[in-house]
Subunit: 355 residues, 2 copies
C-alpha cells in the first residue's frame, strides 16, 4: 500500500541532495550540479531519475569509483566539435560542461557537437537538451548506459536504455521536450514499480530467460527491458536500432566503454566510463521564424479533439509542464512519505540533517 | 494469390525508371538520380520505397507539380551549416545535393548540417545516410511527409511516418544502417500488403475512426499508421514524439510545409514543399579508432546466441545486406511478375519500352 505524500520545497530538496553528495566526498559546486539535475527530474515528474537515484551516486563517491573533484578536459576541438574526457567526474558536472561548450559553438558556428568519454550517470537526458533550448537553440543529448535491454532475437541484454532527448523552444518559454529511453520504458520506471509493489504492463520488460513478464522484480533480477516497439512483429527492432544509434553517438564516437563492456547496473567494482553526446543547433542558421512555427506545431496538436475528453492531446514535455504546475500549487515536490523516510535514512548515514 | 517472381538486372531496372522519369518531363541527370534512389531501395529489399512509387513521381512531373529541371539554391551558409531551397526539384536531386554539401562541410569542419525546404519525396532516407558513411563519416537523414500517423489520444492524423536514417561505417565496407519510419511501420508496407491482399498485424495501423485494424485497405482509406510503440501504455507517445522531433529537424528548421499543412498523401493539387535534414559528422574529430569499435559493436551483437536457431541476431542494415546477397545470386532484383506487368503498363503510357 502506498503511504501518504509529503511535499518538499525545491530548495530543501536540492539542499538535502547537495549535502549528501558533499558528505559522500564531492566538491560543493559538483554537489550543487548533481542536486540541480536530480531535483529537476523530480520537479518534472521523472521520479525514476531524481532523488530515487541518490544512493547510487553516493555509493559511487564513497567507494571512490567516481570523482567529485575533477574538471573535464577538452582532448580535441574545432569550431563546431569537441571531444571531452570527463575524467571520471560526476555525470551532471561532465554533462553541464559539455553542453555549455556545445552552446558556445552553436552560437558561433551554427552547430556544437560535443562527445564525452569517461563520464558517469548524468540523470535525465532532458536536462542538457533544456540547457540549449533555454538559450534559443535546439538541443540534443544522449548517453549510453549499462546493458539492460534485450537484443532482438536473443535472450541476451546488449544495450542500455540509451535515451534520446531533444528540446526546442516555442514562444514565451513554451518548449518541446522529448526525453525518452529507447527501451519501451526506462529501467527506472520498473524500479519505481518494484519499490511500490505495482505490476508492469505487457511489453515493458522480460525476465532472465528473455520472456515477457508483469513482475517488475523479475526485470530487475537478471531480466531486462524490451526495446521500444516490443516484439519483432510490432517493430521492436526499431527500438533496438535506436538504442544502437545512441551507442554510436556516445561510446563509439567517444571512445568510452560501450554496450557489453559497460559495468553491470548498480555495481561499483569498476569505473563506469560512459560515453555521452551533446548537440546544440542554432535555428537562426536556417529558415526565419523558427519559434513561431514551433509554437504552431505544438498548439495545432494540443488543439486536436481528444478521443477521450478526459485525456487532452499532449505534446512531448506537456506531462512535465503539468507536473511542474502541480508542484507550484503545492509549494514543492510531492514524494511518497516512505521515499522521504528512506532518503532521510541515506542522509543520516552521511550525517546530513533530514529534509 | 501471389504470382511468380521475375528477376530484373539492376541496370535494366534503373534504365527503365530513368526513362519513365525523363518521359514524364525531367532532365536525364535528374531521372538518373531518381532511378539510383528507387532501385537502391528495391535492391536493399525496401520495396515499399522503390519502383512501387514510380507512378507517384511520374504523376508529380506530368502535372508539373514537381520540377525536373531545377537546381537547388543555397539560401544561407556557414562552415558547418546550410539552408537550402530545393526549388520544388525532385526529392532525390535535392537530397543528393544537400548531403554532398553536408559531407564537404563535415570533412572541413567536423559537422555538416544542411536543411532543405521546397523538396519532394526523396525515396529511402537511408540513401543519403549511406552517402556519408561511404565516405567514412556518420550520416543522418530525416524527412517530413504527408500526415498519416495517428496522434496519441486523438483519432486525427497529425504527422507523417517521418523517418530517421543513420549510417555508420565499420571495417571493410560493413555498415550500420538504421532506416526506419517513426510509425510502427512505414505507410509503404501497408501499401504493399494491400496490393498483395495480405492482412496486417495488430499495432501497425488504424482505420478512419482511429481504431486498430488488420485490414491494410482500411489504413489506406482515410485511416493511418500507429506511432512506433503502439498504444499509450506501451509507449506509443515515444514514436509520436520521435515523429515530432523529425518535424522539428525538417519543416520547423527548414521553413517548409510541416505537419498538418503538408498536402494529403497521393494528391497533386499543390506542391509538396517538404522539409528534409541531412547531417554528416566526421568521427576523426572524436575518439580514435571509430571503425574498429563500430565493427566490434556490430559483431558482438551478431555473435549472440539466438533464442531461435533459425533466426540469427541481426544489426540494423543486415536484412538489406542479406537481400543484396540474394540479388547477387539471382543476377538481379526479384519482383512479383504482376508488379513488373503493372510497371511496364506505366512505362507504356509514357512510350517507354518494357523492362
Amino acid at each position: 500500500m502506498e503511504s501518504a505524500t509529503k511535499t518538499v520545497t525545491i530548495a530543501a530538496a536540492k539542499q538535502f541532495v547537495s549535502r549528501c553528495i558533499t558528505a559522500a566526498g564531492a566538491l560543493p559546486a559538483h554537489s550543487d550540479q548533481m542536486a540541480e539535475t536530480l531535483i529537476m527530474a523530480d520537479h518534472r515528474g521523472h521520479y525514476s531519475h531524481g532523488m530515487n537515484r541518490l544512493e547510487m551516486y553516493v555509493n559511487d563517491l564513497k567507494q571512490s569509483i567516481a570523482d567529485g573533484h575533477i574538471k573535464p578536459a577538452i582532448l580535441k576541438e574545432s569550431a563546431a566539435t569537441a571531444h571531452v574526457d570527463g575524467r571520471n567526474g560526476l555525470g551532471p558536472v561532465v554533462g553541464k560542461f559539455c553542453m555549455d561548450l556545445a552552446i558556445k559553438k552553436a552560437k558561433e558556428s551554427g552547430v556544437g557537437w560535443v562527445v564525452a568519454k569517461g563520464s558517469n550517470h548524468y540523470g535525465i537526458a532532458g536536462y542538457y537538451a533544456l540547457q540549449a533550448s533555454s538559450q534559443g537553440l535546439v538541443g540534443f543529448s544522449f548517453t549510453n548506459s549499462s546493458r539492460i535491454v534485450r537484443v532482438n532475437r536473443s535472450s541476451f541484454y546488449g544495450l542500455g536504455t540509451n535515451p534520446i532527448a531533444c528540446a526546442a523552444p516555442g514562444v514565451d518559454g513554451d518548449t518541446f521536450v522529448l526525453d525518452m529511453a529507447t527501451s519501451a520504458v526506462s529501467f527506472g520506471k520498473a524500479e519505481v514499480n518494484a519499490r511500490k509493489g505495482i505490476p508492469i504492463p505487457d511489453g515493458w520488460g522480460a525476465d532472465k530467460e528473455g520472456k515477457v513478464t508483469n513482475d517488475p522484480q523479475a526485470v530487475l533480477d537478471g531480466g531486462g527491458m524490451l526495446p521500444l516497439g516490443g516484439s519483432e512483429e510490432t517493430s521492436g527492432y526499431k527500438g533496438y536500432g535506436l538504442a544502437m544509434m545512441v551507442e554510436v553517438l556516445c561510446g563509439i564516437l567517444g571512445g568510452s566503454n560501450y554496450s557489453m563492456n559497460i559495468r553491470k547496473w548498480g555495481t561499483t567494482g569498476e569505473t563506469a566510463d560512459l560515453g555521452q553526446c551533446f548537440i546544440a543547433v542554432n535555428p537562426a542558421m536556417f529558415g526565419d521564424g523558427f519559434e513561431d512555427r514551433m509554437q504552431d506545431l505544438m498548439d495545432s496538436h494540443r488543439n486536436l479533439a481528444p478521443a477521450d475528453p478526459e485525456k487532452p492531446v499532449l505534446v512531448a514535455g506537456d506531462p512535465a509542464r503539468i507536473h511542474m504546475k502541480k508542484c507550484e500549487e503545492l509549494g514543492g515536490i510531492p514524494y511518497p512519505a516512505r521515499v522521504i523516510e528512506y532518503m532521510n535514512g541515506v542522509g543520516k548515514s552521511l550525517e546530513v540533517p533530514p529534509m
